[in-house]
Symmetry: C4
Amino acid sequence: MSQLDDLLRDLVIGNRILAKEDVVDAYGHISVRHPHNSKRFFMSRSLAPELVERHDLIEFDQEGEPVNDKRHPYLERFIHAAIFEARPDVTAVVHAHAEDTLPFGLVSTPLEPVIHSGSFIGGKVPVWDIRKKFGDTNLLVTNMMQGRDLAKCMGNGNVALMRGHGFVSTARSIIEVVRLSVYLPRNARVQMNAMRMGGKVKVLSKGEIAARATGYKPDSPETWRAWEYWATRAGCGSKIGRPLRTRTKK
Amino acid sequence: MSQLDDLLRDLVIGNRILAKEDVVDAYGHISVRHPHNSKRFFMSRSLAPELVERHDLIEFDQEGEPVNDKRHPYLERFIHAAIFEARPDVTAVVHAHAEDTLPFGLVSTPLEPVIHSGSFIGGKVPVWDIRKKFGDTNLLVTNMMQGRDLAKCMGNGNVALMRGHGFVSTARSIIEVVRLSVYLPRNARVQMNAMRMGGKVKVLSKGEIAARATGYKPDSPETWRAWEYWATRAGCGSKIGRPLRTRTKK
Amino acid sequence: MSQLDDLLRDLVIGNRILAKEDVVDAYGHISVRHPHNSKRFFMSRSLAPELVERHDLIEFDQEGEPVNDKRHPYLERFIHAAIFEARPDVTAVVHAHAEDTLPFGLVSTPLEPVIHSGSFIGGKVPVWDIRKKFGDTNLLVTNMMQGRDLAKCMGNGNVALMRGHGFVSTARSIIEVVRLSVYLPRNARVQMNAMRMGGKVKVLSKGEIAARATGYKPDSPETWRAWEYWATRAGCGSKIGRPLRTRTKK
Amino acid sequence: MSQLDDLLRDLVIGNRILAKEDVVDAYGHISVRHPHNSKRFFMSRSLAPELVERHDLIEFDQEGEPVNDKRHPYLERFIHAAIFEARPDVTAVVHAHAEDTLPFGLVSTPLEPVIHSGSFIGGKVPVWDIRKKFGDTNLLVTNMMQGRDLAKCMGNGNVALMRGHGFVSTARSIIEVVRLSVYLPRNARVQMNAMRMGGKVKVLSKGEIAARATGYKPDSPETWRAWEYWATRAGCGSKIGRPLRTRTKK
C-alpha cells in the first residue's frame, strides 16, 4: 500500500474512533493534509463519522472546496482549510462538539491541562467567540474569513474552544489528533470536578507540558497501544495496518 | 409509498431514536399530525417507545381519543391533542421525562440555549406547574383542560418544562422535534456544568437563535445526516427512506 | 402455571432488571414473600443478580435461614426477614448499593421525592446508621437484631437509606419494588443537580404523593409497560407472562 | 493446572475486568508476584488490558526488567517492581488513571473511605507528587528511583494517588486488588457528590475499616460472587476456574 492509502485508511479509522469515544455524534469531523500536496486535504463528505468509509472521503483545495467532487461537503470545512493554511506544522485537524468541553466556552475560567493525558492541550485554551467579529450568526464557520479568524485565535496552540459550539484541535498526525481529542473532554471533566471541591487546583507546569511534548513519539509502542485499543473498540481492529504483535523491544 | 406511509414509518423511527438516545424510557411519547386531516394525529398505543412498530400506531381525534381503536392509549395523550389544537404551526410533539431537564423544573433558574445545537429551544423555557391551577394531582396530564393549560404556558415557544415531571417539545416535523428533544438534555447539562464554575454564563443571543431558526432547512443534508446517524444507532438504519448516499451537492 | 410459578419467574426477571438498570452489581438482592405462607420468603442463593436463574432461588424462614437448602445464602438475608416480619403489608423487598443514593446517607440533607416517578419514595427518607446502636461493624446486616433495628427505622415508609452502605425498599409487589428501586437513584440525581443550582428546590407535596399512591394500580397497562420494557432490555422479554399485546382498553 | 497456571489465568481475567469496568483504558496495568520466586512478578507486555491474552504475559525481575523476553514492556513497570520490593505483604498491584480518582490528586481534600465497598482504601489516601522530588517530568514513573519514592509515599497503605496522573493500589491477591480498584472510583464519586451538598460528610470510622479488613476472606462466596460477575461481564465467564455453582454452605 502507498503512503496515501495508509493515510486514508487511518482517516476512516479516526472517524470511527471519534464516534465510538463520544467526541463526535452526527456532527464533527476530522481531516488530514495531503501528503504530496500541502495545499490540499482529505475529509469525508457530509456524513456522520461513525458511518464513514473509504469511498466517502473527498479531496479539498486550500479554499475548502471539493476537488472534482459533487457530493455534499461539511458546511464547516473552512475550519480545516484555514488551519492548514495558517499552520504548516499541522497535519491533522478535528472539529467537534464534545459535550464536556462546552462549559469552558461559556465562562471565564480557562480550560487547561490538569492530567498527564491532557498535556497535549498545551496550556490555557483560548476561546474564540464568533460574535465578537461577525455579530449574530448561526455560530457555524461557513467561510474562509471566519475560519481564518478562528485560526488566528488558536495561534500556535493545539486547541481552541468555540463559544457555544465546540472545539478545534490540531496535531502532527491523525493518531495524535485523535488522542488529543479523546482526552480533551476527560481533562475538562477532571478539572470541573476538582474545581467543585473548592480551593486551588494544581495544573501541569510549563516544564511538565514541555517534557511530555518532547517525549512524545508518534511511532512509539505507547502511541500505537492506544490506537490499537481504540480501533478495536470502534470495530476497526482488523483494519489497522502495522503488525505490532510481532514487534520487539529495540 | 404514500406521504402517510412515509410519515408513519418516520414516527416509528422517531420512537426508537428517542429510546436509544435516553430521552424516553418506558414512558414518554411522540406524535405527528395527520397530513390530510389537521384535527387528527397519530401516536403509539400504550407501549414503551423502544418497542413500537408500525401496527402499534393509533389515530387520535382532536379531544385526544382513539379513532375506532380499542387498544389502551397513553394516559397523557391530552398533551398532544391540546398542543395540536392550540398551535396550527406544529406538526410533531414529544413528551418525555429526560432526566437532565428535570432539575430546571424545580428551581428558579431558567433553562435556556447555551449551545448552538440547543438553539431550537428558542429562549428561556417556561415551567408549567400543574399544582398552580389543579392543586394536588398525580402530576399527569389526564384531560383536555390540563393539556390546554400546559399549551397556554408554552405559548408560541417550542418547549415547556413540567415541574417534577418532564417536558413537552414541538416542531414542524418529526425529524426536527426528535433533534430538539435529543439536544435539550445536552443543553441542560452544559448549562448546569457552566453554572457550577461560578460567574456569568454566556447564553445564545436573540440574534443567534433567530439566525439558526431561519437557516434551518428540514430537508438539508445536515438535517438528514443526524437522522441517518440516530436511526442507524437505534437499529433502524435500513428503514429510513431517502437514499442520501446518491445525493449530490446542488 | 401456578401463582407460585409466576411469582418465582417474576423474581428472576426482577433480579435481571435490577442488574441491567445499574441498581445492583455483584451485590444487592431482591426477595418476595411466599404467597401461601406469610412467614416464608424467596430469594436467590449467593449469586450476582444478573446471573440468577429459577433454580438459584431458595426458600427462607422467618429468621432468615434457608429451608432445607445447603447452598450459600446472602449474608444480609436478615434485612429481608426482619422487614417481612415487621411489615405484613409488604410483599417484596430490595436491598442495593445504587451509587447515586449513597451521598444522601452521608450528609444531613434528606433524600425526598422531587419527580413524579420518585413519588413512591413517600416522603423524606430516613437514614439508618448501624454505628448508632451496634458500634463499629463491617456495616453489613448480619443478624436479626440488626435487621429489626433497620426495619424500625424504616417504620411505615417504603424506603430507608443505610449510611455508607445502600438502601432498602419495599412494596406490595415485585414489579412495584423494582420500579421504586430503578427510579430512586434517578430521583437522587435530579435532587442533587437541582440543589447545585442554588435556591429552594421544589419537592412533591404530601397531596401529590398521596394522589400518586392512591392512583397506582399494580395491574394497569402503565405498570405493565415499564415491566415489559425493562424485561426486554434485560434480555428477559420472552419470559414475561401476560400477553399484553392482545389486551384492549376497558 | 498448577498454581502458576491458575494465577496467570486470573491475571488475564483481571486485565479484562479492569478494562470492562472503566478502571483502565489503553493505559494502566495489573501485576502479580511470582508464587515461587518472591523477587519476580508477571505483567503483560505493552498492550491495552482489554486485549491481553495468556501469551502476552512477561516475567519481570526485581529491577522491573523483563526476564529473557524482548517484547516491549510497559514504561511504568517500575511502579510494580518498587512496590513488590518495599512490601513483602503485597501480592498484586494495579496502576490506573481512572477518571474519577483524578480530581482528588489536584486539591487539598483527601480521598477517604465513605462507603463500605470503599473500606479497603484503608483511610485517607496520600497523594504522591512526582514534581516534589523529581521536578518537571513527563509525570511517568520511568525508573526505580521514582518507583521507590512512590512506594515510600504509599507506606503501609493500600492506595496512593499520583498527582495529575492516576493511582496505585495493592492487595494480597488479584481478586482483591481488582475489587479495590473497581470500587475506588465509585467511592470517589460518592464522596464528591456528598461534599457538594454542603455540610460535614460522614466517613467510615477506623473501627469500621478495621472490622471490614479483618472480616475479608479471599476465598469467601462473597468475594467469588463479584469475581464471577465481573468476569462474566468482561466476556471471561467461561475462563474462571472454580465451579462455585456446586458449592454448598459449610
